[in-house]
Assembly symmetry: C2
Homo-oligomer: 488 residues x 2
């Protein structure tokens, strides 16, 4: 138990909170609900950003930047949208401070005529802008993404999972046809799924949300749902088909090839620093973080076991050559020859931080041309020849990336339950995991189930097998199972 983290079994929630802080990923700030993302945590987020950004650009998207503030009147234009976000908005009302009787005060003479909302999401300000960008079908599609901070005044916050301010990307696209917009929304949820699986090592189910769980203003919300080690689901990314809702709210029309004016079709899609929470909770253990190599800021650490400076020199020479070879392969490596800490301390430290591969080398290794390799995911150690070390580690990193994914997949498969009556349903939900059950399709039933069990419908999987069945609560006829789970 590196630095004495609470074990998952003892208290999963506390384990998570402690791990985030002790592994130097993030901490609570002095501002209620806002976090500080520390350099080590931010380095992981940067790796996520770089890969996602590459995938967005490869699919024809460009980045742009829109204002942080949204005039209240814009915000109110799409009825469902404002309904969904009004209760958790940070509102700017003044633009100046002054020296008052009790020190620095808000200057009441500097009150805004119209209040500004700190963006919780940018559909409204962006569609107000698109109005000027779109006249003809030639201006379409618009495929734009924004990397930004957003604010939602959540009452109960948790580092990465739910914070008042968070970082994310939000794609906002405009299309000439319904079909093209739907295709875009699906394309992007697939990109998120690919990213989750190949980079985060996180198996996900792709599906659509029920009307209850849909994004405020969307006609359809596609989601990727992942399962955490404690059996709770985590929504990891969403992509929305917005229909013509925002085009109508902001009067955005285009002339088609026949000169006919039509409203524009829209999508939006986003993932956020919440993915950091998914990453941590999906793979880590009681010793600390377990990071997939593709996202690890340090992929390999080399720790010499030595006495005195004279001995260290021999190590330094040997290791310098390895460092160059690792670098040449694009593998990020750290050589920790600090003398202020003992090897055991360093081992625990890098375990806590989730470094995928640790190489230890002692005086006997120097003589015998060997070294000890420890892999973080399985905690296995073995001694290998120094000859071919770098190639060996390169393959090992690929192996670890795969193994992390397979382990999470196995956990999820083992946590799938099919149930057909409400007693079994309740037990399955209590046990955790994805519960596949029939549902009569009404919001009423969905709400009732949530009330009774705290479980929500995570999604209706795409390509869901159709089968006759009866709703697990009401017994009404149903044509397919949907996924229920408790969720973050």
């Amino acid at each position: 138990m590196g630095k004495g983290i609470t074990s998952r079994k003892e208290n999963y929630s506390q384990w998570y909170n402690e791990l985030v802080v002790k592994a130097d990923l993030a901490e609570n700030s002095a501002v209620r609900g806002s976090m500080v993302i520390k350099p080590y945590g931010y380095a992981i987020w940067e790796k996520m950003q770089a890969q996602l950004d590459k995938m967005f650009k490869e699919t024809g998207h460009s980045n742009a930047y829109f204002p942080l503030f949204i005039p209240k009147s814009f915000f109110s234009k799409e009825a469902n949208h404002v309904e969904g976000f009004a209760k958790e908005c940070a509102v700017v009302t003044h633009y100046r401070l002054k020296n008052g009787e009790n020190g620095i005060e808000v200057d009441e003479n500097a009150k805004l005529e119209e209040e500004l909302i700190v963006r919780p999401t940018s559909e409204t300000i962006i569609w107000n802008t698109y109005k000027n960008w779109i006249q003809s079908y030639r201006d379409l599609p618009i495929l734009v993404n924004q990397w930004a901070n957003v604010v939602r005044w959540e009452m109960r916050t948790r580092l990465f999972l739910r914070t008042a301010e968070f970082l994310w990307q939000e794609g906002h696209t405009a299309h000439a046809t319904r079909e093209e917009a739907v295709e875009e929304a699906i394309k992007m949820i697939n990109i998120y799924a690919e990213f989750a699986q190949n980079w985060l090592g996180l198996p996900v189910v792709i599906g659509t949300k029920t009307e209850n769980e849909r994004f405020a203003g969307a006609l359809e919300t596609y989601t990727i749902e992942a399962l955490m080690q404690d059996g709770k689901a985590l929504q990891s990314g969403t992509s929305h088909f917005l229909g013509q809702n925002f085009a109508k709210a902001f009067d955005v029309k285009f002339a088609d090839k026949n000169g006919q004016l039509e409203y524009v079709w829209a999508t939006s899609w986003g993932v956020s620093t919440r993915l950091m929470g998914a990453l941590i909770m999906a793979h880590s253990d009681d010793n600390g973080l377990v990071l997939p190599p593709k996202l690890a800021p340090i992929q390999v650490v080399i720790v010499p076991i030595y006495k005195g400076d004279a001995q260290l020199k021999d190590f330094d020479e040997k290791v310098d050559a390895w460092l160059a070879q690792f670098k040449a392969k694009g593998i990020s490596v750290k050589y920790d020859n600090r003398d202020i800490h003992k090897p055991g301390f360093k081992f625990a430290e890098y375990e806590l931080k989730g470094v995928p591969v640790r190489i230890a080398i002692g005086p006997r290794d120097l003589e015998q041309g060997t070294c000890e390799i420890a892999r973080r995911d399985t905690l296995e150690k073995h001694v290998i020849q120094q000859e071919g070390l770098v190639d060996y580690v390169e393959k090992l990193l690929i192996d670890i990336q795969n193994n992390i994914y397979q382990k999470a997949l196995k956990h999820r498969e083992e946590s799938n339950h099919k149930v057909d009556d409400f007693e079994s349903f309740k037990k399955a939900i209590e046990a955790g995991g994805f519960v596949y059950a029939h549902w009569d399709g009404t919001s009423e039933t969905e709400n009732k189930i949530k009330e009774l069990t705290k479980a929500t419908i995570r999604c209706i999987p795409v390509d869901n097998p159709q089968e006759e069945g009866k709703c697990v609560l009401t017994g009404q006829p149903s044509k397919q199972r949907v996924i229920f789970a408790k969720a973050y």
Copy 2:
């Protein structure tokens, strides 16, 4: 005059405003003083970010993220700092909207106990955080950078140059000694200078600010000052030695090697989307943007001059091979074979957008194995053999990068004036450029000169030659000339 931009001679200020919008870089948003950075403009900013980020990392800095909001009480802790920023702060006072009689209203039941300031800069929230990160000399130095948006409620705004919200990076470092902090501040201003010169093609003078012009809370502000084509200066980046001011305001002490408690020494440094303004104003001409190749989103454009689809095929085949070769060299190239626009229209478009090299190829070129090359910086055209085209263009891009810098340098050198009496001073300031004059070292004189001429002291150059002289206004003795200019 691409798309009919006002010429620089006619109205420099209008030329700039029109160019920013017509070249698709940015536009004013519906939110007072906030801009929308359009994809083409953002692509340039991304290139700047990538290079700066690389330079920061190579000098040992890591990125992190701190809250957007700063509690009012923190903001007030450093007296000079709050004095400097209080008059232009966006203030969040409420955290909820509600459905009221007149539609969506601010919910007065959701008033914050303490107002939050939208960060105009992050020293206060960061030093409040560093307090928990620093106990011992072993925790130092801290070398952290943040890429973020900030808000300063400017009354007169201009796209990129002065906007209520802008994007920037802010480095915040903590050190055990004064010497180390000063060294860091100087190191970073040198990095900015290197970036300006080698990437923006922008010659800059490195110097220190006078007390009047110093950052609010700094003991010393280092600056890079560039000269625009209209003879006005533009402060392009600053690096501040903050002494122990913020450490004292937030009580941040460390135990040195002897266990003695000392206040920590600080720096901060930043560049912003203002650099976009500098880039545009330094190099562009009456036809549109002139971009240095290293920052151009499209470095080379290829335009075929053809009639009918059958002919186009021959061009496509030829050009496809080139595209692969350009890509292999990491040169970004666009092949514009759209049939909806004529070549002349495309030429004007890419001139407006500042694409450094244009290759045009017509039917006779196909027969003769030639093509026409136009370089954007000099507007020169010449016909070359297709053989060796890609190597030729690769060298040309380097040449253009250098030429842009040399041209700007020549303009600045020609705009340097040394003056020794106030009449000449006033004339020189009116003429534009950097005016080197003696100054008696008092804020009073500095203010008086500003009042009389609108000129400010841009900086006291580092390694400034020392010479006896008399203040250009008061005749008081002075030991060095400083640089005066009107500035953006």
